[in-house]
Symmetry: C2
Subunit: 216 residues, 2 copies
């Protein structure tokens, strides 16, 4: 059954809901209200109800949402029942930090290969993954059926790495370099840009001041 | 003059538009169409026109948007004419990577203080900023009028750091730790969660396959 296209904003919030709901589930909590969710996630409860209503009527008034059911449903919506393989280029500070996040990743997106252009780093091991030279990128991406390329290199090198990934056949790129990439149609680029988060935070703080007169 | 509340999704896209438009401006490009913007940013041109229409009619049919005017307008909307100070706790791989991003930050959000709990790191210098001990957090946040606390520590320590920031008087927190934080009303928390980006990318790649039959 095909669902209506879900807005990008909702899709970005779902993993945040999922993380918190999974924490609740592990703690044995069976139900949660949109009010509680909103308080913990700094989101408007009405927004949360609207987001979750996209997927059918989950909540029951006065009782709240069934946590394990909601977890399962969000996993389904995000296609977390399938596994997608990812490769990471760039093992500087950022790349290493991303490798450390691997333990937090759900089963469905797996970082299975690391690449770096620096001969001094190639051959070393980061979190049980061996860093490969760039020459092996094409072969490894094809061999391991890698669909997502993650780019954590300086801005000036990001386009070259993207071109390599595209040539090797990835269908999606997650770009951490603060630059805009050019890719052919059919290859989706998402930008993991912390400066954008910082600006949007600063924006809303300013708006809070203007609207609610929050004390500075 | 007060504007209508702008949706969070739009606010998150504005810095991406701004980065690309600034690149264009530096290259001397005077006008750009929503089609070109869409191609470069992997966004729907109709979406871009809708986003920019929030702020008045910028574009002219057949001519496109005036780049320098759009840059100035987006900067105004994002309040980039004011300066907000930020402090960062946690100078591991992620924290160091964030420090390196400082050069890309616009003037308006400035990381002006670094903190770490590790005595071996305290006193060292990262990108011209000295790492301070956690005991100095409260005093420095007040003294430098720091409004944003950035958290780049392991998930298990993030709430403690958030509590310290809140006690010191920050109004916003940008959390990089993969955990949900609890803060009092009036303190806004944004989550910079790369796993959420990765999931949303995987989601849309799957949707592309289902909808357009993109070859796997």
């Amino acid at each position: 059954m095909k669902q209506a296209r879900i807005s990008e904003a909702v899709i970005r919030r779902l993993p945040v809901y999922l993380r918190f709901l999974t924490e609740l589930m592990k703690a044995g909590v069976q139900t949660v209200s949109s009010q509680e969710l909103g308080e913990r996630l700094s989101l408007n409860p009405a927004q949360i109800r609207k987001d979750l209503a996209y997927f059918g009527e989950f909540g029951r008034k006065g009782i709240g949402y069934n946590v394990p059911y909601l977890v399962e449903k969000i996993r389904q919506i995000l296609h977390l029942d399938r596994t997608v393989y990812a490769a990471l280029v760039g093992t500087g500070n950022l790349g290493r930090a991303l490798c450390n996040y691997r333990v937090y990743l759900e089963e469905n997106v797996k970082i299975v290969a690391l690449f770096d252009a620096d001969p001094a780093i190639v051959g070393t091991t980061i979190n049980h993954l061996k860093v490969q030279p760039m020459e092996e990128l094409d072969g490894t991406v094809r061999e391991l059926n890698i669909a997502i390329g993650m780019i954590a290199v300086p801005a000036g090198e990001a386009q070259l790495v993207a071109d390599r990934f595209v040539a090797a056949g990835v269908r999606g790129i997650l770009n951490f370099a603060p630059t805009v990439l050019k890719t052919p149609p059919g290859v989706r680029v998402h930008y993991a840009d912390f400066t954008a988060e910082l600006y949007s935070l600063a924006y809303y703080m300013e708006e809070d001041v203007l609207e609610k007169g929050v004390e500075r």
